[in-house]
């Protein structure tokens, strides 16, 4: 069993936001790319949810699309708005109930996994785990930059999952935490926003040199940087080149992967995220779940060019296909 390819419909947000692609267009596109695993954000694809339940007709339509295109539901990404009430955090029991509602939706969609956002408390997930077990689904914490597998918050989650004894709790690493180089599309956007070339070049180099974010921010200030220059430097607070090998300690709980990317070039290279290493290491770890494309370049280029998410996802899928076959045993 080798790594499987999928797409999070997050990737097509530009087109679906503007009504240029509907759900069927998305699913058909994924199938055409040979990415047969589908990840969905309930609150993006199903209007009215969660205040209103997803209509039965919409669920039937979803399953009809899966059958028509030969695709398989992989994950429902839930949000859990624990700040729904201004000035107070949603009570614990209500948070658990909210997750149960999403478990119900995942089950109706036929998705075996749910993506939990990284800010969610471990105890809340542990409390929802028995309900997930009953439903036959797993709750996966999205390990996402600036958090990473050695961060105490993630270690706390890992310990809580072990103590719970539940195999319905796990991880969904987002590959953006392995940001090796400063993404060219970010740099170009910051330059358009007014960052002087010299400062942009400095930040890009400082990132490659792994200089601590706080030093970079201070140095940019001393270079006379303000506004967009500081904002560019501050991206280093939220991103770092963590080591993909850190996933290997957690393979038994990793069941889905976010193939985050900002750009794939014509020659099938993601300039900032080391997919060659990532696929090799995941293969070494025996991973046989999906890597779901998560295109996030749109927001960095939309001010300058028309976003073409389908071309971008298509390129990443070709890249993944090549790497998966290259490393498959």
């Amino acid at each position: 069993m080798s790594i499987k390819r999928g797409v999070s419909l997050y990737s097509f947000q530009h087109e679906t936001f503007l009504g240029k692609m509907d759900l069927e267009d998305c699913i058909r596109t994924c199938a055409e790319l040979g990415a047969f695993g589908i990840e969905v954000i309930g609150e993006q694809s199903f209007w009215g949810y969660p205040e209103q339940p997803v209509k039965e007709a919409d669920i039937q339509h979803w399953h009809a699309l899966m059958e028509k295109y030969g695709t398989t539901p992989v994950a429902h990404d839930f949000m859990l708005d624990y700040k729904r009430y201004k000035g107070r955090i949603m009570p614990f029991d209500e948070q658990v109930a909210s997750i149960k509602r999403d478990i119900d939706l995942a089950k109706r969609l036929g998705a075996p996994y749910l993506r939990a956002l990284v800010a969610i408390e471990p105890d809340v997930l542990v409390a929802a785990a028995p309900y997930a077990e009953e439903a036959g689904v797993k709750l996966l914490l999205e390990v996402h930059a600036p958090l990473h597998f050695d961060h105490p918050w993630i270690l706390r989650h890992a310990e809580a999952y072990e103590q719970s004894g539940s195999d319905a709790l796990g991880f969904l690493p987002d590959m953006g935490m392995f940001l090796d180089k400063f993404p060219p599309v970010w740099k170009a956007r910051f330059i358009r926003n007014g960052v002087p070339q010299k400062i942009a070049d400095y930040i890009e180099k400082a990132y490659e040199d792994r200089v601590l974010s706080e030093y970079v921010i201070q140095n940019v200030r001393e270079m006379g940087g303000s506004g967009p220059s500081i904002a560019m430097a501050e991206t280093l607070r939220h991103n770092a080149a963590y080591d993909p090998r850190r996933m290997l300690d957690h393979m038994s709980r990793i069941h889905n992967i976010h193939g985050k990317f900002y750009e794939v070039t014509e020659d099938l290279i993601e300039p900032s995220i080391p997919y060659d290493d990532i696929v090799r290491i995941l293969t070494e770890g025996g991973y046989n779940g999906h890597i779901c494309s998560e295109y996030e370049g749109n927001r960095w280029i939309e001010d300058a060019v028309e976003v073409d998410s389908v071309t971008q996802v298509s390129r990443q899928q070709k890249m993944l296909d090549k790497l998966i076959n290259q490393y498959a045993k």
Binding site: Q44, D81, A119, D303
Partner: protein, 128 residues
């Protein structure tokens, strides 16, 4: 994200409220990759031709219902869907002159997992 897609092109329209007061509206989309419950829309700041509109003169309307921004803060039963065009209406008192106007809409969202409260602003010149 979607910074330049908040205000829908060509959507500036004259309005008259039930109490007879005049206003104008634009269609707007939530600058986010999903929908959001209305209680988490913290503010919709509008300015027209450089003049800031008072918060209590802003209304939000979608699918036949209308809220003031204060009312939205405790609306837990409805949401602004992903990509959904909602009407942002401002009470101007007097009708706005026809012709070209610069409209700014800045949306502040309380997003549970973000360590900050983002505001996204779009400015467009629209014809009335």
């Amino acid at each position: 994200m979607f910074d330049n897609k908040v205000i829908v092109e060509d959507s500036l329209a004259s309005e008259q409220l039930e109490d007879g007061r005049y206003g104008v509206s634009v269609l707007a989309r939530l600058p986010y990759y999903r929908g959001l419950g209305l209680s988490m829309v913290e503010n919709i700041a509008v300015s027209i031709d450089g003049q800031d509109v008072q918060r209590d003169n802003v209304r939000f309307a979608v699918r036949g219902n209308m809220w003031t921004l204060d009312e939205m803060e405790t609306e837990y039963g409805d949401r602004w869907n992903f990509g959904e065009k909602a009407k942002v209406l401002v009470v101007t008192g007097e009708p706005l002159d026809s012709g070209s106007h610069e409209v700014s809409v800045a949306i502040t969202m309380r997003v549970s997992y973000l360590p900050f409260v983002p505001t996204t602003r779009d400015v467009k010149t629209l014809n009335l």
